[in-house]
Subunit: 185 residues, 2 copies
DNA sequence: AGGTACTTTCAGAACATAATGAACATTTGG
DNA sequence: CCAAATGTTCATTATGTTCTGAAAGTACCT
């Protein structure tokens, strides 16, 4: 498969960013290529276009599958498997958030929880536990919030985001309402 | 400096997670140790407690500084530098978000923007550009929203988060209000 | 069954990143 | 100025990660 310069540039960029996003170079390239190509691609096409080994493609596919980022397709009269991105850009963003949460936050949260089972033994430990509690509460609040937001429909989420810092005004408004209800001035 | 088992466990855990969070093992350990210790620590104390070389500590300090995650302190009659976490847990979370945005998203956004300068040359390129546009818009919306949220005070942000999916109801409410204003049923 | 078209696996090579420690730089007190 | 205490740098070594390619596996034909 032939790529134009701009497509090439995008694919290579995703390769370079790959490791920052939680996977590796070739997986970044593979996913980028699938994203911008209108037709699903076979493992061989990926291998040839990106100049990476067939085996590497196979492992990459496995990994992308585990992130639920791609879907497998078949063409009639062709035994090859063809791959394409799974779902919309929104879904893709959701999946990446979720996977990263699982890898980057959940293990820490569970470690922190275990920590609060015992009483601190001395001042040093008391202080440490206090800090850990703060971190735990913050992480828990953020992850719960994030997962609630993820349950909203893309449209609502989009409205909310475009509203931007405007949410702040709505919160003020709500506060006024509820204090009036309680008869405060 | 002596660590209790639980503190040890937390420090080691942060080391293991370090690379997933965007820095390396020793930096994760160093920061964890500073977080849970009541007193600021010197470079030598870090080196000895974590069993890592003095030079490594120096580089780690440099990196943590570039993330603005630590502050340097001095004690009277002592020329050593002592280090402690900079700011509250909230500030720390903000800094990490921001740094990661700079590293993980901004470069991609600017690449994507460059891409829209030229007209697509063929169908393949038209399709690709369309997908890139979607990605661009999504990333831009998310980063703008995130940076607006960061400008809110921790209290407001905390209220908002605890409200959780409840924001959705507030949005509905607002929609009803504005459609009534326009005289719709 | 045997052949073909494809996919997966995995040991080892290639590459990338992090850590060490000795050499160098800087600051301060005398 | 020197010497002692501290901080920084960087070539080398150690560790970790990714990629390749050949071998093994699978599924479908005739």
């Amino acid at each position: 498969m032939e790529l134009t310069d701009k497509m090439q540039a995008f694919v290579m960029h995703c390769g370079e960013m790959g490791s920052r996003w939680g996977f590796n170079r070739t997986i970044g390239q593979m996913y980028a290529l699938l994203l911008i190509s209108e037709e699903p691609l076979s493992a061989n096409e990926l291998s040839q276009t990106l100049h990476i080994s067939r085996g590497n493609v196979s492992m990459g596919i496995k990994e992308l599958n585990s992130w639920q980022l791609i879907a497998t397709r078949h063409k009639p009269g062709d035994r090859k498997e063809y791959y394409q991105p799974a779902g919309s850009i929104w879904q893709m963003a959701n999946r990446v958030f979720e996977q990263r949460r699982k890898r980057e936050i959940d293990p820490t949260l569970s470690l922190l929880r275990d920590n609060f089972l015992d009483e601190p033994r001395d001042q040093q430990e008391r202080y440490a536990q206090q800090r850990l509690l703060e971190i735990h509460d913050l992480l828990e609040m953020i992850t719960e919030w994030a997962s609630e937001l993820q349950r909203l429909s893309p449209e609502k989420l989009s409205t909310l985001m475009k509203l931007g810092a405007g949410v702040s005004k709505i919160l003020d408004f709500r506060d006024k309402l509820s204090s009036k209800e309680r008869g405060e001035s």
